[in-house]
């Protein structure tokens, strides 16, 4: 693997030289050796000669056999590269890497220092594959929490194929603007108060007699569609200056919505797939819990392993792993136990390979080692079951029939309880 070979090259240098080297992986995945020759001016010639064979070995993942090293002295602003906030230290080798990816880069860095945690509890619903009932589950949880008298803010961060907004709002309820508009606006300036007010709408579900609380919905897209594809592109673009990156905008939008609605809890529906949004949602929002809706399929776990391995490689696993919870989406009626056993085994395998600490003598000594047995119910990999039932097949939160109610507890009870456990004690005292 190119990265391993390049890291090996750097790791094999003398300590003083090693500390002045940086791997730069460009947008195409090619790896360049960068030398901070302000620190080791005498070593440049030797390194430049040694990288020739390295680049030849790495081809095509290198600037080519005749490629050069990137020198600090030739740059206008060397610290923008050598001290970039995106530089991470590879867990295995201790070698530093700057990854220039257009997508996926922001989510691989640590939560912003400014995120003080002074916000209502946030719960992220995340699924690597679509169609696993994530949106239905989020609607059910919103409904149950609102039934108990809470003010629930539902944020539909699935910008490209919003589902949750449509589950909780009728077409005529849709606010003028959606989250997408806010992302675009934040690319050029701050959000004004009217703009925030126009982005969120009360769900008619709140008017049901059995619902004591309120559900507010911030949909992905508003009534005024405009140039959808253009907006989508601009939403993902980094603005001029680091404070307008996608992650920062997401945090700002949430803060403004929370200030507007004053919710007891925020449920965030996140895009399925290994994309910016899902990854941002999990890592920058200081979420109480990231619910990973997963089927038992090989594909799902293959994708999740890629995601977890990426965190692990960059030494970020320790930051996020404690907030994760696997949810067994769509546990079948027939063969439920067998299904859950398979899913549990697969989940444990992947978590053990990526996010859990190594099970060796040293870690067994440590009380704070982060690993769990396969059948440990308190483990993040231990799948919380959501049971499929035909009652929910075409269930709509806003629907007339209440036949499903008998099935909420058996199907979603554990999930609702898990979310409830993230919240402060009951809201009965409130007004």
């Amino acid at each position: 693997m190119a990265l391993e070979a390049a890291a090996g090259f750097v790791a094999s240098q003398q300590p003083k030289v090693r500390d002045a080297l940086l791997l730069v992986r460009d947008l195409a995945g090619r790896i360049t050796i960068a030398v901070d020759d302000r620190r080791v001016p005498g070593a440049v010639a030797e390194i430049a000669e040694a990288v020739g064979p390295l680049y030849a070995q790495l081809a095509p993942w290198s600037p080519g056999a005749t490629g050069a090293v990137l020198l600090a002295s030739r740059l206008l602003d060397p610290d923008a590269i050598f001290s970039a906030s995106g530089v991470v230290t590879l867990a295995d080798s201790g070698v530093r890497l700057l990854d220039r990816l257009v997508t996926g880069r922001e989510w691989l860095s640590l939560p912003p220092e400014g995120e003080t945690g002074d916000h209502p509890p946030r719960v992220v619903f995340y699924g690597v594959k679509g169609g696993v009932g994530r949106t239905t589950a989020a609607s059910v949880v919103a409904l149950e929490l609102a039934r108990e008298g809470r003010t629930v803010l539902v944020v539909d961060l699935d910008l490209e194929s919003p589902g949750l907004s449509h589950a909780l709002l009728r077409e005529e309820d849709m606010p003028a603007r959606g989250l997408l508009d806010a992302y675009v606006d934040l690319g050029v300036g701050p959000l004004d108060e009217d703009g925030v007010r126009d982005m969120v709408q009360r769900s008619p579900v709140s008017d049901r007699p059995e619902v004591d609380g309120t559900i507010w919905v911030a949909p992905a897209r508003g009534q005024i569609a405009g140039d959808f594809l253009g907006k989508l592109s601009r939403a993902y673009v980094d603005g001029i200056g680091s404070t307008t990156g996608f992650a920062s905008r997401t945090v700002e939008i949430l803060r403004r919505l929370e200030a507007q609605v004053q919710p007891d809890v925020v449920l965030i529906d996140s895009r399925a797939g290994l994309h910016d949004i899902a990854a941002v949602a999990l890592t920058r929002l200081n979420a109480e819990i990231g619910l990973i809706f997963a089927a038992a399929s090989t594909q799902t776990w293959s994708d999740l392993e890629v995601l977890f391995a990426a965190w692990n490689q960059r030494g970020l696993a320790t930051v996020f792993r404690e907030r994760l919870q696997v949810v067994a989406a769509l546990v079948p009626e027939l063969g439920a136990e067998d299904y859950q056993r398979r899913l549990r085994a697969r989940a444990h395998e992947v978590f053990s390979r990526t996010l859990y600490d190594e099970e060796d003598a040293a870690s067994l000594e440590r009380l704070d080692a982060f690993n769990f047995d396969r059948d440990d119910e308190s483990a993040p990999h231990w799948p919380l079951p959501v049971r499929w039932n035909r009652a929910f097949f075409d269930w709509e939160a806003m629907g007339e029939g209440h036949d499903h109610e008998a099935f909420i507890q058996p199907c979603y009870g554990e999930l609702v309880q898990r979310v409830r456990a993230c919240l402060p004690e009951s809201v009965v005292e409130r007004g």
Partner: protein, 143 residues
């Protein structure tokens, strides 16, 4: 004609512009200003080349729309097909070099410009930063 390298040229022009600007007893603004315009031009062309605009055998850009000096190049650059990648190297829609002209180099001292040298220096710096970003994004070693 040798091999074109817009990035190296941009850095060279910028540094030399700063040398002239800090010269004693009197800053040599007119020519410093010319160099900042040249630096910005090369920086934007470097980015365009990395983004894939067509070049000749020596590496020079060939598109008529882009074969311009900075005063006319800026709007061409800003309006260049916007992709997710191109948008990373934005320099702002307002053209800070609208009052810069290559013709200043032929004029009498009094008309040779230079009063905007400081502003042009800052604008050139911003262009070079964007180009540096693009450099790292596109296999930084192969200059």
């Amino acid at each position: 004609m040798g091999k074109v390298n817009y990035w190296e040229a941009a850095v060279r022009h910028y540094h030399d512009g700063k040398v002239l600007l800090s010269s004693q007893p009197v800053p040599r603004e007119a020519n410093a200003d010319q160099l900042f315009g040249l630096a910005a031009e090369c920086a934007l062309k470097a980015i365009l080349v990395w983004l894939g605009v067509p070049t000749d055998a020596d590496g020079g850009v060939t598109e008529p729309g882009v074969k311009k000096h900075i005063d006319a190049l800026w709007p061409e650059y800003v309006n260049h097909p916007d992709g997710r990648v191109a948008a990373r190297y934005q320099v702002g829609a307002q053209n800070p070099f609208h009052d810069w002209s290559v013709h200043h180099r032929y004029l009498a001292d009094v008309h040779a410009g230079g009063s905007a040298a400081a502003a042009h220096e800052r604008a050139a710096f911003a262009c070079l930063l964007a180009a540096q970003k693009a450099l790292a994004d596109h296999g930084g070693g192969s200059l």
